[in-house]
Symmetry: C3
Subunit: 343 residues, 3 copies
């Protein structure tokens, strides 16, 4: 059985994926029904009627009450049965509810002990919420591999030089030693600062004509369970970084099952905030790259791994894996500590 970190906030969906009528999604191998109450507040229930196990998501939502389509039992957002057309309401007539919070254009769910859920612990991604629509684009891919493989992919960006050579990769990440820092606040930061190197094709397009070499920076900040902020930018070699313009991105991985992942990604920036056309182009190219280059590679990795664990297969790890290994060890320790508490 796969062990997941339970007492943490997972991204469950983009906020606009959840209408009042709801969204059914499997998270950490559990069927979850996300919906909105009469005030538009997002709620989450275990997506299975306690009576005969029909999916509540096949029913309908009215003023925050979910009515099962099979026998008409109705549940409020706490999972308590509020209407049984067939008799009294026993205590067994309840389904589990999950703490859920809408923030930063996303829905966050707490799959562990609800007493411990504290919205203040949600990763601060306020830059997503405050970004104007003309400088915000996002996407979603259901990925065919374990979520830790998708996390690894962002923590070792040297892959861009080989998997995305025509767009995101130019060799400079490979030529730059990553600086890995484990911070006290739970962030593991991985930074590539490159000087006077060839920029990737998509970066070169944004440089002044004739500029062939650049100073660039790519800073990833991971926090548990699989939430990554990625800031990058570049200037012609030797130019000042101030005011250069940063691309500010997130890559967020939530397990669907042991071998499938909800991969949420988004991008904003601190320049050209009203350029809707550029914004759409950035969104398109990112969705294309992640879905046609990253996802197939990671799904193929998973297929080659079969049902064996990552460490059991004895990977021949390299210096470029330093960040990913630090994150895997941190997460493993957090899960082990949590399992210890639960025993």
């Amino acid at each position: 059985m796969t062990h997941y970190l339970r007492n943490c906030w997972y991204m469950a969906a983009w906020a606009d994926e959840v209408a009042e009528s709801g969204l059914a999604r499997t998270l950490l191998e559990q069927p979850i029904f996300l919906f909105r109450n009469g005030e538009g507040i997002v709620k989450a229930l275990f997506d299975r009627c306690p009576h005969r196990f029909a999916p509540l998501s096949m029913g309908h939502v009215t003023d925050g009450v979910v009515t099962c389509r099979y026998h008409g039992l109705a549940f409020d957002a706490s999972g308590t049965c509020v209407h049984n057309p067939h008799g009294p309401i026993s205590r067994a007539l309840a389904t589990r509810s999950f703490p859920v919070v809408e923030a930063h254009r996303a829905i966050w769910i707490w799959m562990g002990d609800p007493e411990k859920a504290d919205a203040a612990q949600i990763r601060d991604l306020a830059f997503l919420g405050s970004a104007p629509d003309t400088a915000f684009n996002k996407g979603y891919v259901l990925g065919g591999g374990n979520y830790q493989l998708f996390v690894d992919n962002i923590l070792d960006l040297s892959h861009t030089d080989y998997l995305h050579p025509d767009t995101l990769g130019g060799g400079s990440i490979t030529r730059t030693r990553a600086h890995v820092e484990q911070r006290d606040d739970g962030i593991i930061a991985i930074q590539w600062d490159s000087y006077d190197d060839v920029p990737p094709p998509l970066v070169r397009q944004k440089m002044p004509a004739g500029v062939e070499r650049a100073d660039s920076w790519t800073h990833v900040e991971w926090s548990a369970p699989g939430i990554m902020k990625l800031v990058n930018g570049a200037v012609p070699t030797g130019s000042p970084r101030e005011g250069a313009g940063n691309s500010i991105n997130v890559h967020i991985m939530t397990p669907e099952t042991a071998t499938t992942t909800h991969y949420f990604f988004a991008s904003t920036r601190d320049y050209a905030l009203d350029d809707a056309e550029m914004n759409a182009a950035i969104g398109r190219i990112r969705a294309q790259i992640f879905s046609t280059e990253d996802e197939p590679m990671i799904a193929a990795q998973q297929a080659r791994m079969g049902d064996q664990g990552f460490w059991d297969l004895k990977p021949a790890l390299l210096r470029i894996d330093e960040g990913a290994v630090a994150v895997r060890r941190r997460l493993d320790a957090m899960i082990a500590a949590e399992q210890g508490e639960m025993e």
Copy 2:
């Protein structure tokens, strides 16, 4: 491993599904070949050649002899090899035959001890056989859930008020307490008798213009393993029931595998026997409802249950489940008794 009741008659097919050339169908997880001999009598063999395990159903049938397409071995309807083009016929050259009977427009198979097979034990559904073609319609759905879920669905017709509100459900079943009776003859009867209530949309169509309320009756009679007769009718409130017209239906469930079900259904009536157009309309609407509303709901139930047993999941049962629970307990007891005998 799933335990099935063995010593009983299961419906294997509608009679007109089985031509002389035969029908291959998996029943209780066993591959069965149903075919007809030279006199048109239906026969059943285990659908696997004893030589090299080719399906006999890939071969051909001539005068009740089935010839394997792979190496030409021929078997009569008792499963005895009657022709081996390659040498003598040993005792090992035999496949299992199953007692099989055609009755009531259907084919019935006995999957248990053949010595105990007694055609007199086949449920009396003579009203199907005697119905004129203009007052008989039938259908078949391969359902994606355990057969007991499909049986439960008929034994608790309150579901019609929520799953079929535009056709079969109007709320009156929910408002009527079912009367459950366990009879000495093995029948468990569940009866809803409703007075002065709102009839379902399809019933209202048949009422005189302006009639808004009705007295109605819905009587289900289950017998093992999953054979249900359902009689229902309605009259304007206070009118005499005599001569009112009954719809007389069957719902018959046979396990294909632990999580799939052969769902056979048919309908006849005791009025308007020569109205072929009405008959066709009834057949169409029933097939549509069962395949697009019931089957998807039960398949979703099964998906939410995964490979866990119904009782293991601790369903929060209601008063409406009284009939279904009585049937599940009866069937469980019959299976347990049979298993005890076999040990």
Copy 3:
């Protein structure tokens, strides 16, 4: 777990299936990458990067060096890492290579102890290599059954009389007792020599007009693991065999998984060597028969057998199985001996 004979040559592909850029194929449940070096010599690597388990076949091949598309590690044909853009090359940075030989228009791979690989042990099928293009046709089917079922199919050609009655079967094989000979060189030979019998439809077409009966010969020679040469021909009854013309065929089975088989087949002949049109027609009819008649039957056999072993199911074997049983026992003994050595 399925045990396979390891120390032997398996056919991995037709030579023209492997371009310099390579072919990914699963053999004996292992992912293999076949490719060519700068001189066109075929090489084979375990198709999984030791770093993070990406398929090497998703990368690119240059001068016999395979570069992983995920992080740019490069491996030579021995599986040794020859380029690590990210740091030093440790001993762990290696993938397994397999001895591989191109011969007789095919690629042969050795999945066992590489020290024991001896190209001289490859079955001599020089007649395939020397056949002119106008007298050589071949094909490939990915078959849905265990490879031994596909081998059995060729070793008992009586099946042609029932499975292919309109083309290859006429009854004469059934009427002829096979002569089985276990030779010292590892060949098991099965010979059907038929006199004055009705030839199969495709053979009759080649007879002089009016000839209804023929003398014919069909000689199969099996060697481990599943390589069969099949020579057959026919003359009008009583005519001399000399100069009659032989069809010379191979049927070669390589396990993909326990229940799927790479089925390679080819045909040449010792007459009408420059008749390209006849050659194409022979290729077409053979591919059609094997893919639409043999493969579906064997896949159906496998489905009926499920995950049970052939002997566990207690097949009721016949005289026609003598050759196939001899081969199964021989192969089982070879595998058992090899397993014994390895313990």
